[in-house]
Symmetry: C2
Subunit: 324 residues, 2 copies
């Protein structure tokens, strides 16, 4: 396998060719990188027809891609971009080993807290980093990604001594047309994204509405602010430094958004499992370990877990009915 | 007007001839008391056809009742049973004055916290008491109450020096076939009912299920226990003495119930306003004034207020559509 010297171009594995992995993987391949894609339901389709991305950055059509349906058939790569939903993270201990050589970067392009710690513990010879994707994108069909807007990636090192590698990845993303910056604190960066994700993802499911309705009623608007405050205090309890003014800033940003369905609402509507564990439960557990109770977030997590089970139970029941 | 001497039979006004007022008022009239009923939409119907109660205690048919559509036409009574939903309490300052003579008992047969304090402040010459109704009853149609089960009333004095009067009312209820006891602490009695009402009324609406489903999933079950604990701690902060073992007791009782729709869920389904103010907001405010934050209950209140507004907005829109 290629070693990651300065001269070589980094090779990339995309674990999960969905809304996130399909978009960024296509950008990297178009820019000249060797990219290996792991796909699930549409691996066969992509092998035959390639990958299509509609994007305001310019459409991308890749007639030929390296696509696989199992990582055992894939080569080890320099950067393994984990683009699965965090609800699939229990599969990673089995999926990742064939992709790793000494010094591979496992880049977790996911929401929520705690996955870097898990990967670092599971794969001590890998380097671990996080990638926060501020993107509106979805899967329109087999091998077909529809990127609607934004798309910034915020990178942060979890392992020590990988700053040069992180900067090379940032350069690759930027050269591929993806706005990409490096955050000196992955820890605070993850919590910052949680300040938005915890209330809006959660309440959009529990209240069954988009962000504009949540912001329009004084009770739910105040609840968003209360939850955000709790997340910021949780961050502080864990040693973070998010300033309180960030709350007003995020709420103002959300006020300016068009009516928006957070990813958890889209998952709920599609009867896909909800990312409650990494978005809600892990922060609650981290804060609790530091002596702070995030009561509102914990209550929201419980409601979401109930609704998730209920919804997918009903969905299973619907499918059973259809099959009979 | 009659004075409330030992010899006289107490006269009763029933403010709100619905599921609660219709049942208890009918029992009292059948037992020989003079009862004056305030009705709203079905006053005319009741004037013509009387009042019917189906009940496991024995059906009651009252062809003739004193029924009114405004309290201005009603006589002052010894006991004014307020059987409206607490969502109508803003009407009481206007409704009650014609019914009061010096020493009238205003008996608040409602859920939630804080109405006794309000009535005592508004009507300083009245005596104020609370009546907690443990009853499953609903309005089946005009002048028609369907009492399904239970029906215990727990009475408690709010004003000082009314213990004899409370005991007379208890005797009247008991003689009328209504199981009735007097609680020495109305304060703790109200909070005890809240320990059940706050989680089950709230979550049955937010999660859109009956009690059995809430109890069947580990997340929602744990959330019920967490909320109950918060209510008990709120009670303690306010000087109450509910023992923590009460939580396990209530959960065991609920486990033995058939699938049950709390009144707030029935209200939600009928697009009636939800009793969030007295059941959730007032306890939060009381605890906060005593220095304790009921974060989970406050979050639940905000969700309920949002869903209430959403639901009744939609209902209004539906009705508008029907009218067009």
């Amino acid at each position: 396998m290629a070693t990651t010297s300065r001269k070589d171009s980094l090779t990339y594995a995309i674990v999960g060719t969905g809304a996130v992995g399909g978009l960024y993987g296509a950008c990297l391949q178009k820019a000249g990188h060797t990219v290996h894609f792991l796909a699930h339901s549409d691996a066969e389709y992509i092998a035959q027809h390639g990958l299509e991305v509609e994007s305001p950055w310019g459409d991308i059509s890749l007639p030929q891609v390296h696509v696989y349906s199992r990582t055992n058939d894939m080569p080890a790569c320099d950067v393994v971009c984990v683009c699965l939903k965090s609800t699939m993270n229990h599969l990673l201990p089995r999926l990742l080993p064939p992709l790793l050589h000494p010094g591979t970067v496992i880049l977790l392009m996911q929401n929520g807290l705690g996955a870097e710690e898990e990967m670092a513990a599971l794969f001590p010879s890998a380097l671990v980093a996080g990638g926060l994707c501020y993107v509106a994108s979805n899967k329109a069909g087999p091998g077909h990604i529809r990127h609607i807007g934004e798309g910034n990636v915020l990178l942060g090192a979890h392992s020590n001594g990988m700053q040069d590698l992180i900067n090379r990845i940032r350069s690759d993303f930027t050269a591929a047309g993806v706005p990409c910056t490096v955050d000196p604190s992955l820890f605070d960066a993850r919590w910052r994204k949680l300040v938005w994700n915890i209330p809006y993802n959660g309440l959009s499911v529990v209240l069954n509405v988009e962000t504009d309705r949540i912001m329009a009623h004084p009770s739910s608007r105040a609840l968003v602010a209360d939850i955000m405050k709790e997340v910021v205090l949780g961050n502080h309890a864990c040693g973070g430094t998010i300033e309180e003014g960030y709350i007003a800033e995020l709420m103002a940003v959300t006020d300016r958004l068009k009516p928006y369905s957070p990813s958890m609402k889209l998952d709920y509507e599609a009867a896909r499992p909800l990312e409650v564990e990494y978005i809600h439960r892990r922060p609650v557990a981290a804060a609790r370990a530091a002596g702070f109770e995030m009561a509102r977030v914990e209550a929201l997590a419980a409601e979401l877990e109930f609704l998730d089970a209920q919804r997918r139970g009903e969905f299973a029941a619907d499918r059973k009915t259809l099959n009979n």
